[in-house]
Symmetry: C2
Subunit: 162 residues, 2 copies
DNA sequence: GCAATATCGTTGCAAATGCAACTACTGTCA
DNA sequence: TGACAGTAGTTGCATTTGCAACGATATTGC
């Protein structure tokens, strides 16, 4: 009987395991993105993310970026520092709270942002070109629900990091 | 006009961007997994993956594990070294090709594998508990197709790393 | 008004990662 | 057979990451 269990195995295939598939899919897509676009502008993925969030909610503080992107605050801090160095972001002190720096695009930053956004959307379209519009919509919403659920589970036993 | 473009923005929201959602979902789920199970057995994610692949295809060489898991070969090499150190894996020289080491579970390795697999499946079930059976199936297959497509795009401009 | 506490962002540090160079072994072709 | 090219796996190194400790500013409670 123990013998039998050993022989037949568990019918567990890593390739079919959801966390594994998710991880491979995310890596592949991020990599394609980094290779084709981010790299060309000298942006890392975290830097591009910061630029993107500032793009639709400016001015914004580092802390708010952390909340919205689920990145570690050190990661955001370093990305912001890199973008400031290269004059893609401006930082103003908030007179109401001097700990909180308000971030906006510089002219150059906005130019890059406006150049990358259409390309990012084009890549997204390419990656999902085999899916119907309905399937794309569905994939997005399934991922959304997964994120919610995983966050809940994660929050049960610890804080909620990147 | 340029003014107007600036004002209205691009209707681009990072949160709705597929590569971003994928990355967040993958991180959240991996983290939940690492926290709850892998950590308890002193396993890193790459080590657990190796243990899992050996579980359903043993004996197997490191190279084959690389092919099946899409992990970098250095990552696999280090995971294997860690597992050998702790006696969770056995390594035999293949007399037909002495470069290729054949890997199998040790008794201890198999025990851990058999303990983790049901827990891993339970976590997968928990993370997807809000989805119907049909939705779960669909999510898996959509991810699969995404991986295929992203691999193709990625392969166009470079090798195919982790 | 000021001590104690909390929040924002930065930095130090150890661990994980990806790439490329390397060693060891195998197969091929002359 | 013996040089050459190719493959399997390991290691070195620079970069990235996550966590925790920290300095600076804000807020709270007395």
């Amino acid at each position: 009987m123990a013998e039998l269990l050993q022989e037949q195995g568990h019918l567990f295939r890593l390739e079919d395991f959801l966390p594994y598939r998710l991880s491979v899919a995310a890596n592949r897509v991020s990599r394609a993105f980094a290779r084709r676009y981010a790299q060309e502008f000298g942006l890392t993925i975290p830097e591009w993310r910061v630029l993107a969030v500032v793009g639709d909610s400016s001015p914004i503080s580092a802390g708010e970026i952390v909340l919205r992107t689920a990145m570690d605050k050190a990661k955001v801090s370093r990305a912001v520092a890199g973008l400031l160095d290269r004059d893609l972001l401006r930082r103003a002190v908030n007179p109401l709270d001097q700990r909180r720096h308000m971030l906006t695009h510089s002219r150059k930053g906005r130019q890059i942002y406006e150049t990358i956004v259409p390309r990012a959307l084009a890549l997204e379209a390419e990656v999902t070109q085999e899916l119907s519009a309905e399937e794309r919509r569905l994939l997005g919403s399934l991922l959304q629900r997964l994120i919610r659920q995983a966050s809940l589970l994660d929050a049960d036993e610890g804080p909620d990091p990147e």
